[in-house]
Subunit: 132 residues, 6 copies
Amino acid sequence: MATLGLIEYENASAEVRAVYGDIMATRKTDWINNFWKALAHDPATLRRTWLSIKEIMAPGALDALTKEMLYLAVSATNQCGYCIASHTAAARKAGMTDAMLAELMAVVGMANETNRLASGYQVEIDAQFRTS
Amino acid sequence: MATLGLIEYENASAEVRAVYGDIMATRKTDWINNFWKALAHDPATLRRTWLSIKEIMAPGALDALTKEMLYLAVSATNQCGYCIASHTAAARKAGMTDAMLAELMAVVGMANETNRLASGYQVEIDAQFRTS
Amino acid sequence: MATLGLIEYENASAEVRAVYGDIMATRKTDWINNFWKALAHDPATLRRTWLSIKEIMAPGALDALTKEMLYLAVSATNQCGYCIASHTAAARKAGMTDAMLAELMAVVGMANETNRLASGYQVEIDAQFRTS
Amino acid sequence: MATLGLIEYENASAEVRAVYGDIMATRKTDWINNFWKALAHDPATLRRTWLSIKEIMAPGALDALTKEMLYLAVSATNQCGYCIASHTAAARKAGMTDAMLAELMAVVGMANETNRLASGYQVEIDAQFRTS
Amino acid sequence: MATLGLIEYENASAEVRAVYGDIMATRKTDWINNFWKALAHDPATLRRTWLSIKEIMAPGALDALTKEMLYLAVSATNQCGYCIASHTAAARKAGMTDAMLAELMAVVGMANETNRLASGYQVEIDAQFRTS
Amino acid sequence: MATLGLIEYENASAEVRAVYGDIMATRKTDWINNFWKALAHDPATLRRTWLSIKEIMAPGALDALTKEMLYLAVSATNQCGYCIASHTAAARKAGMTDAMLAELMAVVGMANETNRLASGYQVEIDAQFRTS
């Protein structure tokens, strides 16, 4: 179980309930996933993390689906089991098809391979890639 | 310098030149970046890596820009200096604006944060996120 | 199960029992956790790893609690499930409260975020931070 | 140079100057390090990141020095060059001596070693370490 | 379960069956492990990944056992649970004894430790190690 | 420069000189690389790290060359610049040819790729790979 346990809505303080309410309203869902229930033991981190994600994941120069796929790519690279499961679900909800998932994973795998080849061979950055 | 040095076109074998030629034709560019010149000491890896990237990065269910941004997100997560520099350039060439870059980095940073919060708090995967 | 299985005290060689005994005496506990039982198949690694940890984790310029929290911060960053579980327990035994755990995780999350922002934006080290 | 360049105070917008001002006031310093100048191209990320760090790094259940050392331990584990340099300086400013730095690094090294031994040997979590 | 499920031989397309057949023939085994069954939803990635592994893992300048041990060392460093389990089995099949496994893990642990000490202490590369 | 600077032989304490002497004798070389000179500010860590490496890297069930290649594979996976440079040199001294280096890097790249595919697709460990 999560280190400090999970705080359900009915047992939550008003401060935590307000965050839970905003999560459900923003995501148009009627439940809260375990990540937030585990963070709820630290209301300051719960609030700050949620407000940051809400701001960062809102459509802007990048659409919501692209952002969710970037999140999943990072989670797969870090091999975070919880995050891969939850962000696969989130990306699908945002429109990711199985074909898109498969291409995403192919890119993630390839990038992890060439990252090590570039570092392992001690390749110097080309002058053309340097920013000014 | 790269461990085994860099092989320039003029010093390359016919096998390596063929790969270099395909890279330049596919990318519509007239130069080869150091990564490939470093791999050229191992023509089998050069060829295989190039053909894999060519296949993976071609537009499919995901467009070329999205794929380049996923590549950059992985490289930033792994903190591969060469790869961040080269794939920032590649993503820009594919259409990434500075505003898109900034949003991409915000997502990458956030995902790296919550990956550790989820793991650090030992959060269990919700039944809803389990795939069957 | 652990790759090579776990070696219980009653089945252990005299060499392994000596290490087990020192672990229990040093930690003022009457049991051995699985990590050591898994390493016991390689008595040289068991002994060397234990003596290193014993030396490193002893109070010095840093107190035992601070050291346990640093260990937990590294384990959360690496997302090592076993290590997070065992070092959460060890840090608590050394005095870490739930409030301290929550602040520790907030720092770990933030550091993982800004590590990628610094690398992803290719930020150069300030002259002021260079050690001559 | 940083991907998008660095924004100096004299060229910064009022929004960015306000953040720079708060950083200098909070840290009791008269200069801004490159990390913030690189983020300043994205004022929303600059503000959010600074406010998060300000909140997280303030003394609470953990004192400021312990928090800075945790930050450095994460940065060393991730091998982020910029972050190691800047947080070594920050931790020293908060009171970290050379002896404390050396002990911190010894713990970081050891934790990175045993994280892989625990994972590599596929050690199962002890019942005693499970949280309920 | 795997995100997209597992495709068994009897439900596989001719294209996937051809890869499965080559895997079994090459490895002199009569079953397919889950990794390939999960990838089979993306036949292009299945084929490309298998052909790459087949080419890379074939004996050459390095023998098959050494290659399997290198694969296991990387997997232990990345703490990939599936990969550690499958490549421990593969390396054993190629001849790795328990004593070799123990020495391999000792090297992996030590390298992960000194990697962080070298980065954490900001050690500069010796002129003697530079490949001009 | 290294955080605490480098301690040259002529400025070293008797305790540090003894370790330096053993390093040079064991490695049949007449110089000390920067890693040890940086650690020398913490004689306990210098001594412990050297004695551990000396014990771990000595030929046993695995020969010295295989051990050096495993060290390099881990360092390339972690992308530790100093460690890649120093262990490439060490592996070459132990007999690694350019062809062996190239095959090693190909395995490292591939393992990093499939580690993420296995994790990203949430592949379950096959019953056949479970030890028990």
